[in-house]
Symmetry: C2
C-alpha cells in the first residue's frame, strides 16, 4: 500500500508482511524453547506451526541467520536475532486513548503487558473516568494531559480506542508528543506524517473482509 | 501469502488487500451519505478520507461501478454495489469462543452488532460462566454445545478469543459445524481446510510489527 512506500523513506524496513512473519517465527520459537531443545529444523518448525519451510529459510537468511545442515537453527540464538531485528530488545511504553470497554479490555489484556510492552496510561475526556484505574491498576488521565504524560512516561506507542470523531484529534496529539507508532481501532483512516507507522485494527473491517469470503466460498459439501 | 492462493480455488475472490479497501470505501461513503449529497467525485472522496483517487476509480471500475464525468459517483448506488460485492446484503450470525475479558468486550462492542453482523453466542469451558449473559444479553454456552448451537443459531462466522492451547480445538469444532470464516485473536496459527478463510487478529503481533517500525524510524527532529 502507499503508506509502506512512504515510510520507507524514513525507515530501512522490510514490508509489513515480512514483519508479521518474523513476529510469528519468534512466537513459535519461544514455544519450542520452553521444551528444552537446542536446535530445530525449518522443516520441523514448518510442520509444527503450519508454516512454509522454504519461506522460513529465505526470511531468516535475509537477516543473516542460517541453519546448520542436518541440525537446523539454534533456537536461542535465532530468538535473540529475531528480537533484535524486530526491535524487541527495547521496551515500549504504550498509551491507550479511550477508556471505554475496548480501551480498558486492551489495557488489562495480559499478553499486551508482557515482554517488551507495557500499557502505562489511558486517556479519556469523561471526567467520571479520569482519576480511576483499570482492574490491573492502569491510571486514566484526562485527554488534555496526553502530550504531557507521553513525555513524562516515555510513551512510544499509542492505541486509539475512541469513537471515530475523536480519532484524528488523538492521532495529532500523539504525533505532536513524539509517538512514532499508532494502532487505530477506530473505523476511520487517520492522517499522520509519512514517518509515523499506523496499523488499522478495526474489528468491523476485519469482519467485512471475512463476510466477503464467507459469502463467496463454494465447497462441495 | 499462501492461504490466499489456496482459498482462490474455492472462492472467486479478489485479494484481501483489495477487500480491505472496498470495506474502507463503503465506510467513507456511508458517512458522506448521512450529509444528504447525491454524488461525490473520487477526488473529493480521496481528499476527505486520505485515500488515493486513482486507486478508488480503478477498484470501483473493476466491479463495474463508474463515476459520471464532472459529477462523480452516485453515493447511494455505490454503497449498494459495495454492499453487494462484499456480501453485506446478507446477515451473519457470529459466535465467540472464550468468554474472558476480550471475548465479552467483543461480544458487547456496539460496532460488531450492527448492520450485517450480530454476535449471538459465546462459548466457554468454565462452568461458572456457562448460563450467564454479557451486559448486552448475549448468552454463554458450554463449549461442548458449540457444534449444536452453530447449527441451531445459523452461525456463519467464528471468533476465537481463547488461550492459545484451546485455539486449534475450537477451530476444528467451528469447521466441523460448517463455519466458513474465522477471526483468530489467539497467538497461534490455526490449521483449517483450504476453503476456510481465517484472519489473524492477535494484538501482540500487531504491536510487534509497530515495534519494528518504531525502533527503526529516523526523523530529523
Amino acid at each position: 500500500m502507499n503508506e509502506d512506500k512512504e515510510i520507507k523513506k524514513h525507515c530501512p524496513c522490510v514490508s509489513e508482511v515480512v514483519t508479521r512473519r518474523l513476529s510469528l517465527y519468534l512466537r513459535c520459537l519461544l514455544m519450542v524453547n520452553r521444551e528444552g531443545d537446542e536446535y530445530i529444523s525449518s522443516k520441523e518448525l514448518a510442520e509444527r506451526f503450519h508454516l512454509n519451510a522454504d519461506q522460513i529459510r529465505k526470511d531468516l537468511s535475509y537477516f543473516g541467520t542460517f541453519g546448520k545442515r542436518g541440525v537446523g537453527y539454534n533456537i536461542r540464538e535465532t530468538i535473540e536475532k529475531l528480537k533484535e531485528v524486530l526491535g524487541l530488545t527495547q521496551t515500549y511504553n504504550v498509551a491507550i486513548a479511550g477508556a471505554g470497554n475496548l480501551g480498558t479490555a486492551l489495557a488489562d489484556y495480559p499478553r499486551i503487558n508482557q515482554d517488551s510492552f507495557g500499557v502505562v496510561a489511558l486517556f479519556d475526556r469523561d471526567n467520571r473516568k479520569v482519576g480511576t484505574r483499570t482492574k490491573t491498576g492502569i491510571p486514566v488521565y484526562h485527554v488534555t494531559e496526553l502530550e504531557e504524560k507521553v513525555n513524562e512516561l516515555n510513551i512510544r506507542m499509542g492505541i486509539i480506542a475512541t469513537p471515530p470523531d475523536a480519532a484524528q484529534g488523538i492521532a495529532d496529539m500523539f504525533v505532536r508528543a513524539g509517538v512514532r507508532g499508532i494502532m487505530n481501532f477506530a473505523p476511520v483512516r487517520i492522517r499522520v506524517p509519512a514517518y509515523i507507522k499506523t496499523i488499522s485494527a478495526d474489528f468491523k473491517s476485519q469482519l467485512e473482509v471475512l463476510a466477503y469470503y464467507v459469502s463467496k466460498i463454494k465447497t462441495s459439501d
